[in-house]
């Protein structure tokens, strides 16, 4: 690790010591309590049986809409596609003005300017993936340039990917330094650190990567790029929620969590909110601390919202495709 990172200032001594050098960092991460796979999956499945009805469900739906990072990350993205996505973000349900706008729109760096323009004055964030998303396989200068491009175009949030190759080969310092460097390049923009849990493979790795990202100054930890299967899962999100809860106990700061990829239904979204509520705590039940990285989820939320209020289901043609 090149130099004492600016991110660790203000941390309690036990944590700032952890980032002193590569050896300390490694010792700290490997000293975290392990995660028992059977246990965490059993807990996640158990909590997923909560029955959320009536007013509680409506609250959950509106809250989930306000937490969506409405995402398009395709090679085929165009200005037109991004503009129409932004229109959807502003008024998710054109027939019902009371439906809250989503939290942010998430695009590739070259689409940021278009999104910023389309969302000016709405308060909706513009998130940009960066750092050679989704693989992260490039040099640090390229990753910094990618980040700076997004921020210069007006991105208020940056979703970076970690170097999974470095992480899996045990070069934690390299991953740490990269996050610190990107955080610096972000300036005022919020930094979400994508762990790509589908490639980290074990829950122990997810816990270590979560702490690594928080030590390096992440504002959010995010499960996945959405380009790798499996993407977000409930047990992985449980482990990350435990990490941000423990981080809060240690530092008093609350880091956000963003599951992304594969969350398509209201039922799924509510299961995530229940996990947020009961694992991390209700302080995380806000778009400042919890987001869904999703695209098709929004329409299911809107259809379920209508069903709740109207007492019957309407078809997919009653909500807009984008």
């Amino acid at each position: 690790m090149a130099s004492p990172p600016p991110a660790s200032t203000g941390l309690p001594p036990a944590l700032s010591d952890a980032t002193r050098d590569e050896t300390s960092l490694r010792r700290f991460l490997h000293g975290l309590p392990g995660v028992d796979q059977v246990g965490v999956e059993q807990r996640a499945a158990g909590l997923a049986t909560r029955s959320i009805k009536k007013a509680a469900k409506l609250w959950a739906i509106d809250t989930a809409i306000g937490m969506v990072d409405l995402t398009t990350l395709e090679g085929a993205d165009t200005d037109g596609k991004v503009r129409s996505l932004c229109a959807k973000a502003r008024r998710p349900d054109p027939d019902r003005a009371e439906v809250p706008p989503v939290a942010a729109v998430c695009v590739y760096p070259d689409m940021v300017a278009t999104a910023v323009e389309a969302l000016r004055g709405t308060g909706i964030g513009v998130a940009s993936v960066a750092t050679a998303f989704p693989s992260g396989r490039s040099s640090v200068p390229v990753k910094i340039a990618d980040t700076e491009l997004a921020v210069a175009a007006g991105a208020t949030e940056v979703d970076m990917v970690i170097d999974r190759g470095a992480f899996l080969s045990g070069r934690y310092g390299r991953v740490f330094d990269e996050i610190v460097t990107v955080k610096h390049a972000c300036g005022d923009a919020h930094l979400k650190v994508i762990l790509e849990t589908g490639e980290l493979a074990t829950y122990d790795n997810v816990r270590r990567a979560s702490w690594l990202a928080m030590l390096a100054g992440a504002d959010f930890i995010k499960t996945s790029t959405g380009k790798i299967s499996p993407a977000a899962t409930l047990p992985v999100t449980h482990v990350m929620l435990q990490a941000v809860r423990d981080w809060h106990t240690a530092t008093g700061d609350r880091v956000g969590v963003k599951p992304a990829g594969g969350i398509r239904t209201t039922k799924d979204a509510i299961r995530y909110l229940v996990a947020v509520h009961e694992v991390a705590g209700e302080e995380w039940l806000t778009p400042e601390k919890f987001r869904f990285g999703a695209s098709s989820l929004l329409n299911d939320l809107l259809m379920q919202r209508r069903a709740q209020l109207d007492g019957h289901y309407s078809g997919p043609d009653y909500v807009t495709v984008d």
Binding site: P33, G34, V35, D36, V38, G39, V40, Q42, R43, T49, R50, S51, I52, K53, K54, A55, A56, K57, W59, A60, T63, Q242, T249, L273, H277, E278, E282, L285
Partner: protein, 475 residues
């Protein structure tokens, strides 16, 4: 800020009737005993009137069981018996919702548990044992093991249907006939099971179910026509039964109390250990004979673990057992609630530090907020006596040897838990713990294939698995 709206399961699903009758020789009949009223512990309302047996009913039932054993069931080929038992298993599964709601009404346990644990596991026990009925020669108990005859079975109120299944399924699979007495406070699901037995067309007398209080149980286990006695319940009653059957030649298995140690080492997966501790002691309101009621935690992680435990226990939702989001339901009876309260008072008086979840409790019904005692020593009553309620005693240890010594320092020996990431230590501990069941990095997992039973004052004999068959065969 996010209040879960009530999500109650409809009580109509239980098909609750105003009165229930006992099941004797294939018919539902009025018993000669004084009828009992069974109460919903969550509301204290009377659910139904249930007829009870007197001594002549017990005699009739045992004779009916004897007839059925000699004329039909004992000589029926195993493959034929299996068909009946499979049928019972399927019918339990088909009526799962009804049985779950009825169980929660009568017992007070949360619907989440009766729905996800009690009823499916009951069905699974019949499925499992049905498979054994024609394979008993391969159970390692000799080439052609014979049934014992008539089994007199007495079961407790904590898992009314599941305990009935644990008792009846192996008895039937091995070719025995059954007279079963359900607990006084929870007779209803056993009587619906009787209805299933009737609809499954079992020959009359193969299964008889006689509700009543302890006197009916005493009459049953003391009856000269009974060849085998199986009891699950308190150690005190177990000792009385053992005296009663001494010298009679009756075969006996007892599954009694426990004071299980849940041992957490400093390298344990802490978040999952917390889940296991919660599941160990607050599952079924702690009305579990194998509950992990003593937490032994290594001193170096005790503070961190306790802080996490308090936070987690605070999220447990205590209340209406029929609400699908309830985690901890009602204490089964006023009597049990009083017993828990008095033991908790003794804990405070003896100087343990009490922490109780700040959760709101319903105004009516028998409820007790989840409670954790820290600073408990081996000498205190709350470390030695079975509380049978949602009360955890926390002790600490410094070395593995000390953990073993403390874990074994109890007259009981039913179950134990070990939490560590080190596989070798799990095996080392399991070798030394005097407990019938040892769970590693989990707790309170039940499966029909796994034998269950205890050491010392927790009783003897095994239920479930291949080992469990021995209790119902003449070997």
């Amino acid at each position: 800020m996010w209040e879960y709206a009530p999500a109650p399961e409809s009580r109509d699903i239980a098909n609750l009737r105003p009165s229930y009758r006992m099941f004797l020789d294939g018919e539902f009949v009025e018993g000669g005993g004084e009828p009992l009223k069974t109460v919903n512990p969550a509301t204290e309302e009377v659910l139904a009137e249930v007829s009870t047996a007197n001594s002549s009913d017990v005699d009739k039932a045992v004779k009916a069981a004897r007839r059925a054993h000699e004329r039909v069931w004992g000589r029926m080929p195993g493959a034929e018996r299996a068909k009946y038992i499979f049928r019972i298993a399927r019918m339990i599964a088909e009526r799962a919702r009804e049985l779950a709601v009825l169980e929660s009404l009568d017992n007070g346990k949360p619907i989440r548990e009766s729905r996800d644990v009690d009823v499916p596991t009951a069905s699974a026990h019949f499925f499992y044992h049905a498979g054994w009925a024609d394979k008993l020669g391969y159970a390692g108990l000799g080439p052609d093991p014979r049934p014992l005859g008539v089994a007199g079975q007495v079961i407790p109120w904590n898992f009314p249907l599941l305990m009935a299944a644990w008792k009846i399924a192996p008895a039937l699979a091995c070719g025995n006939t059954v007279v079963l007495k359900p607990a006084e406070t929870t007779p209803l699901t056993a009587l619906v099971l009787a209805e299933i037995v009737q609809q499954a067309d079992l020959p009359p007398g193969v299964v008889n179910i006689l509700p009543g209080a302890g006197d009916v149980g005493a009459e049953l286990v003391g009856h000269a026509g009974v060849d085998k006695v199986a009891f699950t319940g308190s150690t005190d009653v177990g000792k009385i039964i053992q005296r009663t059957v001494a010298g009679t030649g009756k075969k006996l298995t007892l599954e009694l109390g426990g004071k299980a140690a849940n041992v957490v080492f400093d390298d344990a997966p802490l978040d999952q250990a917390v889940e296991g501790i919660v599941n160990g002691i607050f599952f079924n309101q702690g009305h579990v004979c194998c509950a992990g009621s003593r937490l032994l935690v290594q001193e170096s992680v005790a503070d961190e673990l306790l802080a996490k435990l308090h936070a987690r226990v605070s999220t447990l939702r205590v209340g209406d057992p029929l609400d699908k989001n309830t985690d901890v339901g009602a204490i089964n009876s006023r009597e049990q609630l009083d017993k828990i309260t008095s033991l908790v008072e003794s804990g405070e008086a003896e100087g343990a530090q009490r922490w109780t979840s700040p959760c709101p409790l319903p105004e009516k019904g028998f409820f007790f907020a989840p409670t954790v005692f820290a600073g408990v020593s081996q000498a205190m009553r709350i470390a030695r006596e079975e509380i049978f309620g949602p009360v955890l005693s926390v002790l600490t240890f410094r070395t593995p040897d000390e953990a073993v010594a403390k874990a074994n320092n109890t007259p009981y020996g039913l179950s134990a838990g070990i939490w560590t990431d080190k596989g070798s230590r799990i095996l080392w501990m399991a070798d030394r713990l005097r407990a019938g069941v040892v769970w590693a990095n989990t707790f309170n997992r039940f499966d029909p294939t796994a034998p269950f039973g205890g050491y010392q004052e927790s009783g003897f004999g095994r239920e479930g698995g291949r080992a469990g068959l021995e209790a119902y065969l003449d070997v």
